[in-house]
C-alpha cells in the first residue's frame, strides 16, 4: 500500500440532504442540494466532479443523478452493497483518486421512504432461490433475519434483551444532543422492553427509524483538498466484504463480514480498535451494533452484550458511538451509510456542537447492508 500512502485521499466536504419528512423536494433535488453544499465545503462546484458514486437513485446506478446534475464522469461506480455501499464508495473513490483516474469524487444518496412509504418488498421471480426456499416461510425482511441473528447470539453467548436495549438508549441520548434528530425524547431500557415484540427477540424500539434523508460526500486528492473551506479529513483505511444473501447460508449467524472489512481497514490505517475515538456503527437494529463491536474487535466475540452496559456508547462513555443519534433515533433513509460518513467527518472537524467528542482524531464508519450480508469499514483521521 505504499502507493496509496504516497497519494492519499481526503474527504473535503460532506452534507446532509433535507431530513425527516420531506414533502417539498424530490430525491433528485435532495441529492442536488446536498451535492452543492458538500462541494461548497470542499471549495468546489458540481462542474469539478469527475467521479460519481451513486446507487438506489433509479435504474442504471449513477446515470440519472449524473444527468440531473450535468455530470459526465470519468469514473462511475454503483457497487450494490446496500447500507454498506457508501463506505465501499469511499474505498473505490480512494483507489480511483490514488490511481489518478479521477480527482473529485462525489458520493450521494437520498430517499423519501417515509413520505412515500415505499420500503418496497422485493418482488421475486418465482424461479429464484429466494422465492423457492425463503419467501414461503414468511420471514419478515429484514427484521426476521436480524431476529434470528439476535436469538442465536443470546442462546450462544447469554446476551440479554436489556443489553440490546442499552444500544437504543445510547442512540437516543446522542439524539437528544442533535437538533436534526428525528426523535429526541428520553428513552429507557424499560421503554424498549415494553414496546411491542415484532419478531422475537426484537421489539419495535430495537429497530431503526423510517425517515426521508440522505447525504453527499466529496473524496479528492491532497492537492485539491487544500482548497477546502473546512479542514479535510484523511481516508486512512478501507475494507469490504460480504457473506450471504439467504440467511440460512450465512456461515455463522454470530460472525459478520465486518470481521473481514474491519481487519482490512484497520490494517491499512495502521490502527487498533483502542485508537478509535468515535465510532459510527450501522444501527439498523440494536443487534447490528453489538455485532459491529465484536466483529471490529472492540471486544471479544460474544462480549458485545456486556460491553454496551454502563453507558459505554453514550455521551461521556469510553467508546462514543452513534453520535448523531444514529439510524435508531436521528435518521434512517433506507441506506444509512452515507450519513455515518457525514457524522464521522463532522466529529473529526470538531463541529458537532453539543455532541462533540473531545479531541476526536480517529473515527470509524462501519456500513452494513442486506441481512447482515455486507460490511464496509472506513477509518478516517484528522491530518
Amino acid at each position: 500500500m505504499t502507493g496509496l500512502k504516497a497519494r492519499p485521499a481526503y474527504i473535503a466536504g460532506v452534507a446532509e440532504t433535507p431530513l425527516g419528512k420531506v414533502l417539498d423536494q424530490t430525491e433528485l433535488s435532495m441529492v442536488a442540494l446536498a451535492a452543492k453544499e458538500a462541494l461548497g465545503e470542499a471549495g468546489m462546484t458540481i462542474a469539478d466532479v469527475d467521479g460519481l458514486f451513486v446507487n438506489y437513485m433509479g435504474e442504471e446506478g449513477t446515470v440519472q443523478v449524473g444527468e440531473y446534475l450535468g455530470i459526465e464522469p470519468r469514473v462511475a461506480d454503483s457497487s450494490d452493497l446496500g447500507g454498506a455501499a457508501f463506505e465501499a464508495f469511499v474505498h473505490h473513490a480512494m483507489l480511483a483518486v490514488a490511481a489518478g483516474e479521477c480527482e473529485v469524487a462525489l458520493i450521494a444518496y437520498a430517499s423519501r421512504q417515509r413520505s412515500r412509504r415505499n420500503r418496497r418488498p422485493p418482488v421475486a421471480d418465482a424461479a429464484s432461490l429466494t422465492a423457492q426456499f425463503e419467501h414461503p416461510y414468511g420471514l419478515p425482511a429484514p427484521i426476521g433475519h436480524y431476529a434470528l441473528i439476535a436469538a442465536r447470539h443470546m442462546a450462544q453467548y447469554g446476551t440479554t434483551s436489556e443489553q440490546l436495549a442499552q444500544v437504543a438508549v445510547a442512540a437516543r441520548k446522542w439524539a437528544a444532543l442533535n437538533p436534526k434528530a428525528w426523535i429526541r425524547t428520553p428513552l429507557t431500557v424499560s421503554d424498549v422492553l415494553e414496546s411491542p415484540l415484532l419478531s422475537d427477540p426484537l421489539h419495535t424500539l430495537d429497530c431503526c427509524l423510517v425517515t426521508d434523508g440522505g447525504g453527499a460526500v466529496v473524496v479528492t486528492t491532497p492537492e485539491r483538498a487544500r482548497d477546502a473551506a473546512k479542514p479535510a479529513v484523511r481516508v486512512l483505511g478501507v475494507g469490504q466484504s460480504h457473506t450471504h444473501w439467504h440467511i440460512d447460508q450465512m456461515p455463522d449467524l454470530t460472525v459478520s463480514a465486518g470481521v473481514k472489512s474491519g481487519e482490512a481497514a484497520f490494517r491499512m490505517a495502521g490502527i487498533v480498535p483502542a485508537d478509535v475515538d468515535v465510532l459510527q456503527p450501522y444501527d439498523s437494529f440494536t443487534i447490528t451494533v453489538i455485532k459491529a463491536l465484536e466483529d471490529l474487535g472492540f471486544c471479544e466475540r460474544g462480549e458485545g452484550g456486556p460491553f454496551v452496559e454502563n453507558g459505554r456508547l453514550e455521551p461521556g462513555g469510553d467508546l462514543p458511538a452513534m453520535t448523531s443519534g444514529g439510524g435508531l433515533s436521528y435518521n434512517h433513509p433506507g441506506a444509512l451509510g452515507v450519513l455515518l460518513l457525514v457524522e464521522a467527518v463532522r466529529q473529526l472537524r470538531g463541529e458537532a456542537n453539543d455532541r462533540q467528542v473531545a479531541d476526536a482524531e480517529i473515527a470509524v464508519a462501519h456500513g452494513v447492508g442486506g441481512f447482515l450480508s455486507t460490511s464496509s469499514t472506513v477509518v478516517l483521521g484528522r491530518d
Binding site: 421471480d125 418465482a126 424461479a127 429464484s128 432461490l129 422465492a131 423457492q132 426456499f133 425463503e134 419467501h135 414461503p136 416461510y137 414468511g138 420471514l139 419478515p140 425482511a141 427484521i143 426476521g144 431476529a147 434470528l148 441473528i149 436469538a151 442465536r152 442462546a155 411491542p196 415484540l197 415484532l198 419478531s199 422475537d200 427477540p201 439467504h246 440467511i247 440460512d248 447460508q249 449467524l253
Partner: protein, 129 residues
C-alpha cells in the same frame, strides 16, 4: 403444475422429492459433503459429481424467532420461523409447527400442503428425533 413449476432445473429433484414426501438433498460423490440449496458443483471440493439423495429429515434448531407481524398472505402470525441444521450438515430456513421452539431442540420434517406449489418442508419439535 408443470415439472418445472419453479423454472429452476437444478431444484427439480428437490421438489420432485417433496411431492413424494421425501427431503432430497445434494451429496457430493467425491467428498461426501451434503449441500442445500442445489448447485452445479460442490462448495466443498468443487466437484461436479453431485447426487440427489434422500436425507434423514432430522435436525436441530440453530436459531428461531416467533414472527408477530404479518409477512406473507396465508401465514397468520404468530408463527415460528427457524433455521434448522440438518443432521447431514446443511442448514435450511423453515417453519416449526406449534407455539414453542427453542434453539437446540430436535426436530423432524413434515410437509405443508400447498395448492399452487409442491409440498413445503417444515419441521416439528420431536425430542425422540
Amino acid at each position: 403444475m408443470t415439472d418445472l413449476y419453479y423454472g429452476d432445473p437444478l431444484s427439480r429433484a428437490f421438489w420432485d422429492g417433496a411431492r413424494n414426501g421425501v427431503l432430497v438433498l445434494q451429496r457430493c460423490a467425491d467428498c461426501g459433503r451434503w449441500q442445500h440449496y442445489p448447485r452445479p458443483l460442490c462448495l466443498g471440493c468443487e466437484s461436479t459429481s453431485l447426487e440427489s439423495v434422500p436425507a434423514s429429515g432430522l435436525g436441530t434448531i440453530y436459531s428461531c424467532t416467533t414472527v408477530r407481524i404479518s409477512a406473507r398472505p396465508g401465514l397468520e402470525p404468530p408463527y415460528i420461523a427457524a433455521i434448522v441444521e440438518l443432521d447431514e450438515g446443511p442448514r435450511m430456513l423453515t417453519n416449526v409447527a406449534g407455539d414453542t421452539a427453542r434453539i437446540g431442540d430436535r426436530v423432524r420434517i413434515g410437509w405443508r400442503h400447498r395448492t399452487d406449489a409442491p409440498p413445503l418442508p417444515i419441521f416439528t419439535v420431536d425430542a425422540d428425533a
